[in-house]
């Protein structure tokens, strides 16, 4: 019962704040609404009993990416600035296109009946996730782990190089 209430609450929060994120004219508010969306998503993961994923969602998404976005908003725009929206015609056509896409996807989803596997109630602990993250057996994920760490290193160096001021051109 409580679980259902929490699910509907988080679902409603996700939908309202997503709409507000893309429609508000103040950029900083859009970032805060995005933060609410990400926190409600973490709440959904908690209600699915996936505590580790919810913690990752909170720390990396809500803690890291949103702070990065807010920093860049403060660096690049004035707080009193209002976002320029697309012309009305373009907004209407975008709304029509997205509505058509959403109806198509929803029709496809709702036509298919998924049979949930309720036999097992997994008691996942973080040790299992960590062990399979570095194991190279059949159910191990050592290769994606290494690939993603190299990708993060490359992205970090790339971001620093791109954002660095070029002194030579100024002289």
């Amino acid at each position: 019962m409580l679980n259902e209430v929490m699910f509907y609450l988080f679902g409603a929060m996700i939908l309202t704040f997503s709409v507000l994120t893309v429609t508000t004219r103040r950029i900083l508010r859009a970032a805060v609404y995005l933060l609410f969306v990400l926190i409600s998503t973490a709440g959904l993961y908690f209600s699915l009993n996936y505590n580790f994923l919810a913690a990752v969602q909170l720390t990396v998404y809500a803690g890291g990416i949103v702070v990065l976005i807010i920093f860049s908003i403060l660096l690049t725009s004035h707080l009193s600035e209002r976002a320029v929206m697309a012309p009305l015609k373009q907004s209407i056509f975008s709304a029509l296109a997205t509505l058509a896409g959403a109806t198509l996807t929803l029709m496809t989803i709702l036509r298919f009946s998924f049979v949930p596997n309720t036999g097992v109630d997994p008691q996942l602990n973080i040790t299992d996730i960590g062990n399979s993250m570095v194991s190279y057996n059949r159910d191990g994920y050592a290769l994606p782990f290494e690939v993603i760490s190299v990708l993060l290193l490359a992205a970090m160096i790339g971001a620093i190089v791109v954002a660095k001021k070029e002194r030579k051109l100024k002289e």
Binding site: T21, Y141, A163
Partner: protein, 105 residues
């Protein structure tokens, strides 16, 4: 626990979130808000992965790792995108896509 909520409810939520993100990407003119729409899209995909993992294959971990990889890629993408946006702001004094048209023919 999960018996009362069908899997399709999660899919409906993530579908709406995905298309709201696409709507924002199409109508926004500010590069940072477009980036936020992309984050919405990636987040909706994560909900799908996790819900499928929980409902259909609860004894396996594929959904977990896909979600972790998507989050890592999203973090990398946000870092690089924000570096590029700051560089654009330095050169054009604006981050609206309408004003950044130097390389348009």
């Amino acid at each position: 626990m999960i018996q009362n909520i069908p899997l399709s409810y999660y899919l409906v939520i993530s579908t709406f979130m995905f298309f709201i993100g696409i709507y924002g990407f199409l109508t926004r003119r500010n590069l940072i808000t477009m980036l936020m729409s992309i984050e919405l899209i990636l987040n909706s995909v994560n909900i799908n992965f996790v819900a499928f993992n929980r409902y259909l294959y609860p004894q396996q971990l594929q959904g977990h790792f896909f979600m972790l990889i998507v989050i890592a890629v999203a973090a990398a993408e946000a870092a690089v995108a924000i570096a590029i946006i700051i560089n654009i702001y330095r050169n054009f004094k604006s981050i609206d896509v309408e004003n950044v048209d130097e390389m348009k023919y």
